[in-house]
Symmetry: C2
Subunit: 157 residues, 2 copies
DNA sequence: TATTGTTATACTCTATAACTATA
DNA sequence: TATAGTTATAGAGTATAACAATA
């Protein structure tokens, strides 16, 4: 072993497998949490065809009607190149529309369609139920502090 | 808008873009944190050819020498099918070895090689520096609570 | 019948480089 | 020259189905 562990290291003849040093790595638990969350998110969204990234895109368009894809991408840390097919898919489904910008022929002003508004409202309802389920053992005060800690990590990027 | 927001919604003529309801979604901040962490992790591991998943695999082999791929996959929530190329790559690099299991001709007993031990020790050093950097604004007590909260989320999966 | 390891495949998310048309 | 949108491509991570060998 790389380093003597204080933690119980169970012989590997069973399903009692130790995670070793991973126990103390925040990044490991972040990845694991996201994995668990993503699985339930997918189930919660069944039938909508919506994924986490698509919901976040529609949420930001809803909160900032008329913004363009570049602004949208920067707000969500999504590369412009990747925004194309993401927004394009939402347009093909009639959930988002691109309008011309009077002063700038390069950019499009993004808006949700009425169908998009309805879809986003439905997604929000499902995401709320999903979050309540995943955070069943976490109080609302703890959730607020959890988010605040995560935001501090994001601020390092 | 789907729902009246109390938060400031800035007109989209600038880079002051509101995240709207996303602000209150734990899953959104988890994904965002992981994204920021992954970028720095990659920089921290430069030259090693190691990625988060590979480090976690080697860490668990190190903590449970002789376990097989199925146990390893279950411990890390990695599908058996995906373990093949992951462990295979580490074998090709001489960091992991598969030994025959006396009582079971189906399974392999996984061990780190001396090179693997050295690589893992180096990875642990780099991961620790990486975590210290990313959690610079988070105290050790807060980090412990953060991990504990994340573990509670994982327990829902 | 169940399990180990495996192959093949596909989808999501992310990343980079290079192009066009406008500004 | 800088920016908005685009195309093409690649890599990492995850997921499922199906197979052979063994238990």
């Amino acid at each position: 072993m790389v380093q003597t562990e204080n933690q119980t290291v169970v012989p590997a003849n069973d399903e009692a497998i130790s995670l070793g040093r991973l126990n103390d790595f925040t990044g490991f638990w972040l990845r694991r949490s996201i994995n668990v969350m993503a699985t339930d998110f997918g189930e919660a969204m069944q039938g909508t065809g919506m994924r986490p990234t698509l919901v976040s895109i529609m949420a930001v368009i809803d909160a900032n009607p008329g913004l363009n894809q570049g602004q949208l991408g920067r707000a969500l840390s999504i590369q412009r190149a990747n925004m194309v097919s993401l927004v394009g898919g939402l347009m093909d489904r009639g959930l988002v529309e691109r309008r011309d910008v009077p002063g700038d022929k390069r950019a499009f002003a993004l808006h949700l369609t009425p169908d998009g508004e309805a879809m986003l409202a439905e997604c929000f309802r499902r995401v709320e139920a999903h979050e309540e389920k995943m955070l069943a053992e976490i109080s609302s005060g703890e959730k607020a502090r959890l988010i605040e800690l995560l935001q501090r990590i994001c601020a390092e990027g």
